[in-house]
Symmetry: C2
Subunit: 144 residues, 2 copies
Amino acid sequence: MAKLQLERFLPYRLNRLASAVSQDFRSIYGPHHDLTIPEWRVLATLGQFEELSAKEIGRHSSMHKTKVSRAVRTLEERRWLKRRGSEQDRREEILTLTADGQRAYRDIVPKAAAFERRILDDLGTQAEPLLTVLERLEHIFRVR
Amino acid sequence: MAKLQLERFLPYRLNRLASAVSQDFRSIYGPHHDLTIPEWRVLATLGQFEELSAKEIGRHSSMHKTKVSRAVRTLEERRWLKRRGSEQDRREEILTLTADGQRAYRDIVPKAAAFERRILDDLGTQAEPLLTVLERLEHIFRVR
DNA sequence: CACAATTGGTCACGATTGTAACTGTCATTT
DNA sequence: AAATGACAGTTACAATCGTGACCAATTGTG
């Protein structure tokens, strides 16, 4: 009977690796700030673009709108972001980071960058092939 | 203020890609068999090794024991696997695929193989670098 | 041998998630 | 401008998941 080695199967390997990387990364910012991954994504997206609606955050960070909604509320309760009604469209709210939120962002971003750089350094000459093939895969699977 | 482009951040990209690949793969076997990913992993692991305890399945497929326990029960109710008490250790149960389970396995494995081959073919000369760097990353993150 | 510690597996619980329904607002059609 | 459909965001609900408690069986220690 034809068999398949699960441990060599691409979807399985990608999932396992992605989980491990995320867990590892979370252990870097988690202890200091107790952020979930959705919260981190909202923080990162708002830090990157200053002003966004929840809809735009979801589109840019690949998150479902309910996931965004909940992460936004949590961060709002933590006073890391604030809402402001939009003038053009009163259905949506413009979100921005508070001073506390910006402080957290400034604290985490260097750690995130160092985390990534460490991986790429460890990969050495294989870093560039990784980034290239990642783009190819993202294109193949229409991610983004 | 130093910024980070989330869409270029490695952990984020890996997670998004892994989800997309898994979803795409699931759309191949899902419609025919209505399997969840945990159930697929149990099926694949049992198909690969014939006889295993739940513990061993979890270790080989990187799943939490409760996740294995639930997937095993579902597959048992579907009559795709059966349990048998172990002689050596009466705490554990030896799991094997039934004829139905083997049929499903034989049906899905070629599809899984074709799915993977298709990706690697699309990648062309970048397929081999991908597999190489995957191994490196698995090693770096102590996956397996 | 007794008994404490460990282990395989299940279950109860709380947390997280996606789906679908819902509210209020905007756009389009007439 | 009234009605209809689309849309941003929240909420309710159900499904899925991990943590920890738990049971029965095994292993280790004195």
